[in-house]
Symmetry: D2
Amino acid sequence: MTGNPVIEKLGRRLRLGVIGGGPGSVIGEVHRTAARLDDRYEVVGGVLSSNPERSRAAGRALGFAPERAYEDVDAMLAAETARPDGVDVVAIMTPNDGHYPLACRWLDAGRDVICDKPLTTKLDDARDLVARVRASGLVFCTTYNYSGFPMVRQARAMVADGEIGELRLGQVEYIQPQLAVRPDLDDPDYWRFHARRSGPSAILGDIGTHAWHLLHTVTRMEPQAVAADIGPVMPGRRFDDTAGVLIRYPNGARGILWVTQAAAGAEHGLKFRIHGAEGGLEWHQEDPTWLVHMQLEGPRRMLSRNGPGLKPAAERASRIAVGHPEGFHEAFANLYSDVAEAVAARLTGTPADPLALDFPTVEDGARGMAFIAAAKASSDAGGAWTDCRLSL
Amino acid sequence: MTGNPVIEKLGRRLRLGVIGGGPGSVIGEVHRTAARLDDRYEVVGGVLSSNPERSRAAGRALGFAPERAYEDVDAMLAAETARPDGVDVVAIMTPNDGHYPLACRWLDAGRDVICDKPLTTKLDDARDLVARVRASGLVFCTTYNYSGFPMVRQARAMVADGEIGELRLGQVEYIQPQLAVRPDLDDPDYWRFHARRSGPSAILGDIGTHAWHLLHTVTRMEPQAVAADIGPVMPGRRFDDTAGVLIRYPNGARGILWVTQAAAGAEHGLKFRIHGAEGGLEWHQEDPTWLVHMQLEGPRRMLSRNGPGLKPAAERASRIAVGHPEGFHEAFANLYSDVAEAVAARLTGTPADPLALDFPTVEDGARGMAFIAAAKASSDAGGAWTDCRLSL
Amino acid sequence: MTGNPVIEKLGRRLRLGVIGGGPGSVIGEVHRTAARLDDRYEVVGGVLSSNPERSRAAGRALGFAPERAYEDVDAMLAAETARPDGVDVVAIMTPNDGHYPLACRWLDAGRDVICDKPLTTKLDDARDLVARVRASGLVFCTTYNYSGFPMVRQARAMVADGEIGELRLGQVEYIQPQLAVRPDLDDPDYWRFHARRSGPSAILGDIGTHAWHLLHTVTRMEPQAVAADIGPVMPGRRFDDTAGVLIRYPNGARGILWVTQAAAGAEHGLKFRIHGAEGGLEWHQEDPTWLVHMQLEGPRRMLSRNGPGLKPAAERASRIAVGHPEGFHEAFANLYSDVAEAVAARLTGTPADPLALDFPTVEDGARGMAFIAAAKASSDAGGAWTDCRLSL
Amino acid sequence: MTGNPVIEKLGRRLRLGVIGGGPGSVIGEVHRTAARLDDRYEVVGGVLSSNPERSRAAGRALGFAPERAYEDVDAMLAAETARPDGVDVVAIMTPNDGHYPLACRWLDAGRDVICDKPLTTKLDDARDLVARVRASGLVFCTTYNYSGFPMVRQARAMVADGEIGELRLGQVEYIQPQLAVRPDLDDPDYWRFHARRSGPSAILGDIGTHAWHLLHTVTRMEPQAVAADIGPVMPGRRFDDTAGVLIRYPNGARGILWVTQAAAGAEHGLKFRIHGAEGGLEWHQEDPTWLVHMQLEGPRRMLSRNGPGLKPAAERASRIAVGHPEGFHEAFANLYSDVAEAVAARLTGTPADPLALDFPTVEDGARGMAFIAAAKASSDAGGAWTDCRLSL
């Protein structure tokens, strides 16, 4: 993350519009901070609420020019596509059911899109979005943000270089506490607990898809089938808060995924371990500096962010000297900054650093939906093994 | 572990005979060290090998009196039951298929028995052994040795006292590397890889049963049903090296168990986490000093062996001051020392400290066999949910 | 860090000018990122190099308007004080000997100042700067950036509230590897190795002053005297790379400080532990999420960033939910954002949140110089106890 | 620790007599457990208290034959030297002032001696003991027990093999909580707080000497001079509870030692770090499994007990497979078992494994006394640098 390739290429920052992430949202501030961190975007306007008044007030509180603190997406789309300095990129961070229609509209308007996960609420919509992005030639990023951590990228690069050999075992877990308390958090009106708005499984859509993607991105291997148990562990709850998924890979490797939001006293708990024929790798999001490299023979190596022995993909994802911790915001910013480089390259017709093009794509998002659909089907069928492959 | 209740009650140490654990065995030295550690037993004789010559030589090398370095179990049984200072207790550490017949013989001879896990190779044998122990009134311990760690006992006592509330989630894993290398360790003659000698599943019999017991002992809750995937991850291997098991509890809680011996670069990796309505507990055998107590509200508490805030069951299982590590041998010795106290009480007709009677019993061993049988049946049936309860 | 009090109060972001931190500098990007992170500043211009051409080019590469990519400080001072939208705040990140003269000039120009540590190269200059800041009524921050970590602020607040009782023991260390390799890093022209430019001690000026401040800020107690050993551990090196300092406090408490840059294989290694009559606290910058609270009686508590049980001063210094790591940039940004709030309050004549005013001041910087001077004098005098108090 | 070289060589276990360590003592049980652990000793008798009645009762409670539960050392010496199966080895674990006279008596009686640290209470006595041991040809071990940890031996062997290059930095600390509470633990009658019985410094004699020896044994380098600050941090206390010591080595390396028993909430806290020209090593007694190997170039290696990449000296000091923790008792037992091998070799006139002869000697004990004497003299002289070398 040295230099500023966007200013170099375009002579200016990219203009980013945001949809969603207004008052009360956590993820809104995260997106905007990520965009700002490496100085490659200026957040110029957006729609911050489905309530027009609140949307305009929130935009002004963020320092948007008053005319770009829009009341709704129609107004924003009309104005931004009309003005010469309209937004280059749109970031979508609405509830899940907004992702698909909004992404379609902005792709149709020729804007590059950054979209929250899960990509859609229905697998068919996800397939359609893949087709649209491919047809458009535009840049599209699904914000599987944990893949932006330098040491996750290091793991991915080590697997690609064969450093742990052929995959044998994959494990991922994501253990949170939010839904251990009730009934406060079981608000029947909350969108995340309704299949229509959140998708087939509340827990898989919210955090299971992150866990799946993390395992997917580092192993570089698509699972073949899953056997799952999804449901609530809290008596009387009507939406699922926990999922256990057994995974089979085409080469005979096996995996396991465990996610819950009902773990009283947990913190965040996203963690993976993979083992191949020649060694293993372990990473924990709560302590993201370290990637543990377990060797088949020889002692364990502790690879650290910006430390010795790293791959270029990990080195470029770091900003500050070894031993100074980077965290969640920097990882999220890595996606934004890579997308910025891709967009600047597209706008100027110049090549981007190939390493900048390794952010999670619309295809990652679609495969994530296929995983959710298959796991849900398996659980509904009493744990029967269910194919989860998606041809794209 | 203060004072020596055996010398106090009996005026002497208990006389222990051993069967199995000769040259090349790891577990033999472990049993004998555990017996010696708290000075409650004298290891007086035994059978160290199925080869008579090697058995006698190995016994002499251990310092047994020559006449008690037996050539086989027949000789040992005849001699030890005849002599006035014959063994009080017999410890069985043979391959799995020896456990049941040997335990029967020594129970019939009126000796208290310490027996390795898994209890038997067949569930019916396990049921029979429960009946025999109950009929005999003798002391019987199944060496689920990890339950001897002070902080495991602390977890068990905290659950009993309601400190984490009703169980919601249980997780246990046991991740080893031995079978990541091949073919060296796939010796076709090795007993552990043959169902006849090791039981229905090599991986569950060897380490899965430890993982199951750990979860069982701390949660104090019997699972209702399991859905499992058991098999090898190593291409071409004919016995199983990995198992993933989804677990359902009667109260709606869910669990997950993951065990493997094919994890290149792993060390030992026995670890559990449980969460209840009021908090959670986490423990890792590789760093057994600490039990992490996650509170529903309030910061995480780090309970340490012999530190402040412990239950009597944990305090009595510790020997040395806080901050000085104890480990595997001491945990194993805790079972031996508790059994010794129970035996001394039985022999003298006096009461034992109730806390000494909480070692793993023949019933634990039988339930462990029921778990293995159900998990294997589920895996064979494509992951179908299978009842794993055992009425005893 | 919720809302944007600067936009709220001023209706705009603060305009920040920077001096130093151009190409090749690590700290320059850190300052600018910290200023941007919470969207309270716009970095509008500055001087990036002592070479006029390089300064202008570097400013343009950062996206400054061409006329604000200045060739030198004279030009910047003239232009910025003349234009109606001139800089509100100036950040100084030059070599140490630039801090004092530059701070004086910008204070004289009525600008609030953010200045790198060590405050000056001479104790007398530091005293003078204290007097000037006090006379001016302007905001001044010495960037002892590690004090911006939420859990350092938590420690400071717990000490203030008496939660560990009266101080008995203080320990701090800062262990780096940069100078373990030679001669590459012993460049005789490097300013940091020359007393004229870096101050009395290279190691104390560079990292010892950070370690001192960390101990100072959390203990809230001024040491009385020090006995020090400062020098190189690398044979033939002519500047100091290591310092050990024994510390006595007025109340009989004792402390110890150990800093080095010659520790081959170390990473960053800033860490403190303090113990009082009622308990202790431990924090490590490499894993800044956790503050270990050791209780005199009762188990250890693990306080985590944004977790339960925190003081308001720690809560407000955090952005993202518990379990998502924040790190170096966020801690540095906490100083910038607090200063912004103080400046906005000053400019609008409104009160600032008192918690925003707890950033390191010019007085902290001056006391840091007194510590360096006393430690150096003690070391030169063969370890004699030397008074290190400074009345201000 | 495979096989039993004592039974192999002698055809029997060694007969051990103990002096001290009776009821109320922690260290007595530790010594006896350590002797028993590897089955190389039979603890046959001893003196357990300075009160004859209590001594005899305590001996019987340990299971000694009644005639070997002695009332005092005179009786024991007379009886044991008279009987044909008298003790081979005597272990001394009395208060410090008993070490010297008792060691002299048993050496005079031709018995090998295991003696607690500190070796004596006066440096001259320590010199004399060195001379006596050398003249006698007997085996003598000073129980600097932390040197028995496998990973400490690994560190020592790595330094010997040049794996971290020439020493640059040494750091050791030992942080305990016992004396953070008062006045309970300030019992004026307690021997440890009186110079006549404990030696020149209570804190250095009790734990400082362990810390010193740990640094000494792994660095294999004798310090040249020390500058120290020793005293109580607890107001009104009349004996010292804390010491900070700056260290200079002959080659320009520097060290630092910090020990205290007044750290409220600490546990045990013995830890060292050393750095040489090519890398560093770090070890913590509370988590003794791991030795961190920091490389000058390349990622950190985590060496683990019985794991890959260990030196023979570390491998032989381990009993159980990688990942199963060993701890304090096993480390203490390593000294006992090595001494047993040395004694068996002496008694049979056969060579011992050279690796068995690397236990701490009487010379280590004497150098430990020289360190205490020099540090105390320095502290009394206001921190003046004081030579701490001892020619032997």
